[in-house]
Amino acid sequence: MSGITAERAIPGAPPREPSYLTAKTGLASWLLTTDHKRIALLYMAAITVFFFVGGAGAVAIRIELFTPQADLLSADAYNRAFTFHGVIMVWFFLIPSIPNILGNFLLPLMIGAKDLAFPRLNLASWYIFMAAGGLAVYTLLSGGVDTGWTFYTPLTTAFSNGNVLAAAAAVFVSGFSTIATAVNFIATVHLQRAPGLTWFRLPLFVWAIYATSIVMVLATPVLAMVLALIFAERAFGIPIFDPLRGGDPILFQHLFWFYSHPAVYIMVLPSFGVISELVTCYARRRVFGYNFMVYAILWISLVGFLVWGHHMFVSGQSLFASLAFSLLSFIVAVPSAIKVFNWTATLYRGQIVFDAPMIYALGFIGLFTIGGLTGLFLASVPVDIHVTDTYFVVAHFHYIMVGGAVSALYGGLAFWWPKITGRLYPEGWARFAAIMMFFGFGFTFFPMFIMGYLGMPRRYHVYPEEFQVWHVLASAGAVILAFAYLLPMGFFAWSLIWGRRAPANPWGATGLEWQTSSPPPEENFHTPPVVEQGPYNYHPEHAGPPALEREQHQPQGRQP
């Protein structure tokens, strides 16, 4: 982007005032901090570790699947590898990633608050998360779990040889952290907004985090109770889902998916928020249909609670139930489509700059669209019966969660990196990494649609030789993808020392977070902000010559 002015340290210039990074020093000032910005960095450190841990599971899977025979892992070890990959990635990476890193850092800044509503609860939430992570690592070290991340009964309660109790406890405890953070976010949005910042002036990222938090608060406890039921049945032998004593294993699936479908929205709604911020900034346009974007987010989080049965078309639920859930699943796709259309319409006649965050955002829109549309394949009963438990399903949800959520996370990290650290990342490398992530992802997961459609079942470590070409393609793509994940970690770390210093608003973005210095002071704003206009006010009419000089001005919309 043009207009970046690097502030080199000038001799004789006044020393920079202390930011939240430098205001206090020492390990205790980090581990006992109640500053939301520092807690966001604590989360970033922890979640990065879990990303590597969960990624190790993916590496083991992709190496094993390189050949049709079992060469690296036994059947049992393979079960443990994909279960561990799923459990870590879902509950210790995807669910906390954007809300707890970017949300924690940005939410108070975006609404002009000094901190989250309950700062100490925020720190407690991190410690609970770490305790849960410790349990998860203990699960791995004590042999792992072989049930799949879905914990289906009666496998988990009666037959599994893995350490189900530790895994269930880890996920259970992580739920406390999720709920604590969500309560904090909801209270903050309700009670800490700056004067003049009405609900319909909120940035869409805030709306997205708010809606996510509501889903977290209402869905996570259901998972907690289900896991408690599993735990009690396995540990104490009390029959809850035991068919021999009148229990119903299908009931478990209903309860599990009542949580786990909304959990998909917990993972992807925050990405919607990030993408809305990126697309508007790098197209220099107001978001198209702001109100519809807000209603779409709320609609998704509501209807998302009513579609869980689409995971159970072949589990023996009635055909009527399947049809109802199928219809509702089609309905929940409508607001997602609205969002994709509105992002696209925002690009129209925008002055698009292909900086790294924008490349991530465009990649997100493409991958999310494919993931969403294949979701509709799976939501229609006849197609689903054909591809149930195949790689088609694996490809579909990786398009949403990895193609979608991880692209948004990396795009968001790049976009807000100057705000978080006060340093600019190297743009060329970042563009390269963003493009590589898109293609690496495509090579890894698109072949899975094809082999899934051809009948390759998921969760097998050996397979017929006819599928090998697709698996080799996927494994090779995974190498590119892994490199695309590691490269930004490298240049982000590099930028901490050698990156150019970032001005307060390097991208010329709207939003309160850009009005304070980079990195922000401990109390966030030197003077408490007052809001007088709606979000994404790019090309304001009254801005006059300075704004016109910075970006070639073109009126928005059709010319008369």
Partner: protein, 213 residues
């Protein structure tokens, strides 16, 4: 300490005023209780499904619970809600003696509940009402009823113990003077306590009154 100084000491970051902070504490607790409703709701829904699947076994099993203990405990818990409400109101009004006495009474009623519950659990064990081998009733589905009996009352007791713990800490802090009566924690505790009470109001008819009409 003057009133204004006391109020300033109770004000925490990032709140701008004590009124707003109090609002925030109550709001946060309400959201959290929404979460708790889903937590218990999940178990109660599962219970309801099984009850409609196996009505006879569930009715027979419910008759095995000890209604005397259950009723006494209901009375204890409802009374504790009264004292808790008085304590919260007393704290808001700055009435130190009333707050401390009512908090102590609340804790006492809560512990009384747990003691009665302990006797009841002991009797349940000697009557072979623990699901598994040697279970007292013939119908295997009756074991599901008692699975929920143990689970729901157990989870409720954990919640109650948490409430007792917090009430004790707040009481000691208020007594020592390290926590101002203006602190929003008393109202927050009150909301939580009433919720735990309310859960019992659902458990009592489901576990004790079923099959006894």
């Amino acid at each position: 300490m003057s009133d204004i100084a006391a109020r300033n000491a109770a004000l925490r970051q990032p709140w701008r005023s004590l009124r707003r902070q109090r609002e925030g504490a109550a709001f946060g607790i309400w959201i959290f209780l929404g979460s708790e409703v889903m937590f218990f709701g999940c178990a109660l829904l599962t219970f309801a499904v099984y009850r409609s699947l196996w009505p006879d076994a569930f009715a027979a099993a419910a008759r095995e619970t000890n209604i005397t203990y259950g009723t006494v405990n209901t009375a204890l818990l409802l009374t504790s809600s009264l004292t808790m409400a008085a304590a919260a109101e007393g704290a808001a009004a700055g009435l130190r003696r009333l707050t401390l006495c009512c908090l102590a009474a609340t804790v006492a009623f809560g512990i009384g509940f747990l003691v009665v519950k302990g006797f009841e659990y002991q009797e349940d064990i000697t009557k072979h009402l623990v699901p598994g081998a040697g279970f007292r009733l013939e119908a295997p589905q009756a074991q599901i009823f008692f699975a929920f009996y143990w689970l729901l009352t157990g989870v409720h007791a954990v919640h109650l113990s948490t409430g007792i713990g917090i009430a004790t800490v707040l009481g000691i802090q208020a007594w020592r003077g390290s926590r101002m009566l203006a602190s929003p924690a008393f109202e927050a505790l009150g909301l939580y306590w009433h919720f735990v009470d309310l859960v019992w109001v659902f458990l009592y008819p489901l576990l004790y009154l079923g099959g006894r009409s």
